[in-house]
């Protein structure tokens, strides 16, 4: 293992975060606070409780997941797309580093950022609503797994994208709708049964459900299923990354 290379890539990517602190950290926190004001205070005052938890509290895990998902994808896709775009990728490709080391460096940094962000959003939420976490270790497990999985997914998008439009396309057209429809703001059980079945095809439901369970022990689907789906998606992303590097897809030609 070329640990120094992993460290170099990781620190380089983290340095980018501190340089762009405003857009990396501050803007997601601001937008999440707005969600609290709009959904938690304005709409939440009309909805008393969801499954025994006040509405403002109920939406916290979903909001955290919403940010972690979108930021993981944004960070990781931009992290690898940018060197491709400006050409500095030549150095990574010509260095004595393995694919695994490259992925650990980039995906590790992107995941770290979104985990930090997730924790900051939770802390922000605690200012608005009383927050209680029943299973902190499970909460962290879901948080880390989700951050890593979607950073990997973002890494794949960053390699696939050959223009800034494509870089935005999948997050905007697929991920954001899936997240909003994945139960960030409501319990899937509140839906009519037909919609409920369709909603269960949305992978984000499982992430949010598992994550919310670690907070309040309320879940739309079983925790084991949530964990299984998350791990399954992680495995798919890993297989795709492995294929990308094996073939040199959009990197080496």
């Amino acid at each position: 293992m070329n640990y120094r290379a992993i460290r170099a890539i990781y620190l380089f990517e983290m340095a980018r975060t501190w340089r762009t602190l405003l857009q990396s950290i501050v803007s997601p926190v601001v937008s999440t606070s707005l969600y609290f004001v709009v959904f938690g205070a304005a709409i939440g005052s009309r909805i008393t409780e969801v499954e025994g938890v006040s509405y403002g509290t109920f939406i916290v895990p979903g909001l955290v997941m919403l940010s972690v998902l979108t930021q993981s994808i944004a960070n990781a896709s931009f992290g690898i797309y940018f060197p491709k775009f400006v050409g500095t990728i030549y150095e990574i490709l010509s260095a004595p580093v393995s694919y695994i080391e490259i992925v650990i460096g980039y995906v590790g940094a992107a995941a770290t950022k979104s985990i930090i962000l997730g924790l900051i959003i939770m802390a922000t939420a605690a200012l608005f609503v009383p927050l209680h976490i029943q299973h902190p270790w499970w909460m962290l497990t879901f948080l880390v797994l989700t951050a890593v999985t979607f950073s990997l997914f973002g890494f794949i998008i960053g390699i696939w994208a050959d223009g800034f439009e494509k870089l935005q396309m999948i997050p905007m057209l697929i991920v954001t709708p899936l997240t909003f429809l994945g139960g960030s703001f409501y319990s899937v059980n509140m839906l009519p049964s037909g919609w409920r079945t369709i909603t269960l095809l949305n992978p984000v439901v499982y992430l949010i459900s598992g994550f919310r369970w670690s907070f309040y022990e309320i879940a739309d689907v079983s925790v084991a299923l949530s964990l299984g789906m998350t791990l399954g998606f992680l495995a798919i992303c890993m297989a795709l990354v492995w294929w990308i590097f094996r073939t040199g897809y959009r990197l080496k030609n």
């Binding site: 120094r4 980018r16 400006v86 050409g87 010509s94 260095a95 040199g248 080496k252 030609n253």
Partner: protein, 310 residues
């Protein structure tokens, strides 16, 4: 004495894009340890493709390459560790400082921190006073040197310079060649591509000419110049002539456009250059001579004649 094994050995290398476009066709090339090797070729000849494959940026289609005896695919870590690459385009991280980006390169190549080495590299390249500047604030020539500093950050044994002096002013170019010579003196092997044939002529120990994806010639510079080196004798005339007299047909003279000079090509290595008899025959033909000059054909002439050959 046994010959030293080549530091880079390219065997039967081909690069095929799509189904049939051969960017490189069956390249065989050995680079000797410690030499400066210049790769010459017109645009699109395959110079950058060849370098990209050796450095791991592009995959090869057929054949094999070893660097320091290590196969570039099977043993890529050992192979790439030996190489520093300065690509043709100015690819830099605009918002990083010079010091950070050069240190990053060293880490990427798995070397422990060594501020003293990085300081030396930056000083050698006259970048020391810019070490804390963001790259975006530097001029093109400085960015080029930053890229060289990155390539040298991990103490490579081989340095690839792809068109290193494109867009660099004369002063800087000279400074850059001083650095290259100093590197060679410290045992680094240098492979450069260039459009400036004078540079190859001035710098290289050996020269390879690549055209349409094929190596058409590899030769010691001196040998190449001598082997293909014709000399040209220009005889300036006192008067103007309209045509070469028939009595001089055997010399294959060329008449200058203004009719005031004739040009004679001869081989310096021939037993007889034919100059004496030419001058005699010119006098016999009643042509009076005002001046003579001779010129060695340059690498550029050789290059152009090679590349233009069918």
């Amino acid at each position: 004495m046994l010959a030293m094994p080549p530091i880079i050995s390219v065997s039967n290398l081909s690069k095929i894009y799509g189904s049939d476009f051969k960017a490189l066709n069956n390249i065989n090339l050995d680079i000797k340890r410690g030499e400066i090797f210049a790769l010459l070729g017109p645009n699109g000849a395959g110079k950058t493709t060849l370098i990209s494959i050796i450095c791991g940026i592009a995959n090869l289609s057929e054949g094999s390459v070893t660097v320091g005896g290590h196969d570039i695919n099977r043993d890529y870590r050992a192979a790439r560790s030996l190489i520093g690459l300065v690509p043709q385009e100015l690819h830099t991280d605009s918002f990083e400082t010079v010091w950070a980006t050069v240190s990053f390169s060293r880490g990427l190549f798995g070397k422990p921190k060594n501020p003293a080495h990085i300081e030396k590299v930056l000083k050698d390249l006259s970048l020391w006073d810019k070490k804390d500047s963001k790259i975006i604030t530097l001029s093109g020539g400085m960015k080029r040197r930053v890229m060289i500093a990155k390539a040298l950050s991990h103490e490579p044994q081989i340095l690839f310079l792809d068109e290193p002096t494109a867009g660099v002013d004369v002063e800087l170019r000279k400074g850059m060649w001083d650095v290259v010579r100093a590197l060679q003196a410290s045992g680094v092997t240098i492979i450069l591509t260039t459009h400036y044939i004078q540079e190859a002529e001035e710098m290289a120990d050996r020269i390879g000419v690549i055209n349409k994806g094929e190596i058409i010639l590899v030769e010691d510079k001196a040998g190449l110049m001598q082997k293909l080196g014709k000399k040209e004798l220009k005889v300036h005339l006192q008067g103007r002539i309209d045509a070469i007299p028939a009595s001089l047909a055997a010399y294959n003279l060329e008449l200058s456009d203004d009719g005031h000079a004739v040009i004679y090509d001869y081989d310096t290595k021939g037993d007889r250059t034919g100059i004496t008899s030419l001058l005699n025959d010119l006098r016999n033909a009643g042509i009076r001579i005002s001046d003579l000059d001779t010129r060695q054909s340059s690498l550029e002439d050789i290059f152009v004649s090679l590349v233009r050959a069918p």
